[in-house]
Symmetry: C2
Subunit: 319 residues, 2 copies
């Protein structure tokens, strides 16, 4: 009899079973040992009857990883669960670190077979509940400074604010960690209007789901906790009749009646796309410094575009 174990790293989705994938359900069904944070185990209680259940506290990630590995090494089939996507701020990272440190190698001879089962992450769940705020570029930043130095977090918030990303804040606040969201608000307000739409969703798709639609100016005064995710819009995000939407940019190319604007062609790069930008920079009488300031791009990048050879494939359709 084989003593090989299997370790599934499972993202169970935001919380309701309806938003779990079949692969996640199948992994939990196949497991004889299920390990996770106590709140997440409660969410999948219907699926775990008769199995060995190992409940862990919030900050015991390394314990969770080590215990999951130990069970798998004894030949068990183990499901280590995280809410949302197990790969996004979830258990996949610490577990691979612990596995690799223990000498495990991902090959056919490995004593443990490992599979990551992705899930619907919190930012997708929050977005679905409030409209369509993620139709353009976004970033995810955790405000937890338990393992990440604050200057790293602040630097990322400042960069995301300046470059006009929609920003999803994970772990925005806890009982004692209350000032981080105020700092995030301050940094975002340096680049974004106080009226910028913000959605705060607690326990998405769970019984105690709570949705607050607010603005960047009011954000830090709202009810925010460990089970909340905060979505801050970019400079184009709007709220209309309760729906938060970040336009993809059809207005850059089409008039309201759907006809292309002058110089634009359907299915082709925007006139200010890469080739248009290169042409404009190469023919501009302005200095590199002036162009860098105007376009908010690094000076070195303007210098590069000035000298780049025209390329046959810098624009065109996507077929």
């Amino acid at each position: 009899m084989s003593t090989k174990g299997t370790l599934y790293l499972v993202g169970i989705g935001p919380g309701s079973e309806a938003h779990m994938t079949d692969a996640a359900r199948a992994a939990i069904a196949a497991a004889d040992v299920v390990i996770g944070y106590v709140t997440y185990l409660r969410l999948v209680a219907d699926l775990t009857a008769g199995k060995t259940i190992i409940k862990k506290g919030m900050t015991e990630e390394i314990d969770r990883a080590q215990e999951a590995i130990a069970y798998a090494r004894r030949g068990h089939t183990v499901a280590l669960i995280s809410s949302g996507d197990v790969g996004i701020y979830g258990m996949a990272g610490p577990t691979f670190e612990a596995l690799l440190a223990s000498g495990w190698r991902p090959d056919a001879e490995a004593d443990i077979q490992v599979e990551v089962v992705p899930g619907v992450t919190a930012l997708s769940a929050v977005a679905a509940l409030v409209g369509a705020p993620l139709t353009h570029d976004f970033c995810a930043i955790s405000l937890s400074d338990l393992l990440t130095p604050w200057p790293v977090i602040a630097r990322r918030i400042a960069a995301a604010a300046a470059a006009d990303f929609v920003v999803a804040l994970y772990n925005p606040k806890s009982g004692r960690r209350t000032q981080q969201i105020v700092e995030a608000q301050w940094l975002l307000l340096q680049h974004r209007a106080s009226t910028t739409p913000v959605a705060i969703v607690k326990s998405a798709y769970r019984k105690r789901q709570q949705i607050q639609m607010t603005t960047l100016a009011e954000m830090a005064e709202c009810e925010i906790g460990m089970l909340s995710t905060v979505l801050v819009g970019n400079s184009n995000t709007f709220v209309a009749h309760g729906k938060m939407v970040t336009p993809r940019g059809y207005g850059n190319k089409y008039a309201a009646d759907g006809t292309p604007l002058p110089g634009e062609r359907p299915a082709h790069s925007l006139s200010q796309g890469l080739s248009g930008t290169i042409a404009a920079i190469q023919t501009s009488p302005a200095s590199n410094e002036a162009l860098a300031a105007q376009l908010q791009l690094p000076l070195a990048y303007i210098e590069r575009l000035r000298t780049l050879s025209p390329h046959p494939s810098t624009s065109g359709d996507d077929r």
Copy 2:
């Protein structure tokens, strides 16, 4: 008989049915009309027998939205599908824009009930297939310049590179749009080592799935197409034995044997967390300018932290 229609905006996940949620499957089952890009409809062909199927081309997003709305307005139950998460660069955005422009309001009297069903987005799928690269802050940037001016895209890449985000590049390349990935590589290389791990995954969880593990230096020479997603690691991301991992930062707090480093306490903010950073800045003899340069933070933010009153809740545990 009610003539009210229902419009489900459905994220079908990366491609295999196992990674679809029950809610997505239920929405397609409930629909009598299913609309989507032809490739996505093929992925759910098992679920759509007997239904009205409306296939659209790649760049016909507005057509798709308008047709879905028109069917719903005639009382049909419509599923408009996107691969991955319908809210992330998917159909949720253009559809809400079109709905709101047509006078639709999201209330009980609305002629169309709308529900967004989130899915597993491409970056989660890619991450699951290569290890755990998203265990720390990340951003998603689309390289398509069909609707977004290139300077906006370039500015975001530059900001993400400088602030050390893991970067997921959506729509990295198409048949004619081949230079954008070269530009992204150049911008990332200004801040990140040429050895930075990069994963390129094509058709995740589909029949023609292809995984390439490479480096930032080699990235642009790899096979990349419309069905690829590219994940670029941050400065701490490593590849060991084929697994790509971004550490969460346990090494900032714990020695290899699991004991806390001097000055650190489990379940409490890092000593260089927010309160530690404030204390260090307030007691530093260095100039604000020197601190801003050293910490890579805006000067105005250093000035703020210099004068911020000590706050009882800037650190502490998360229970």
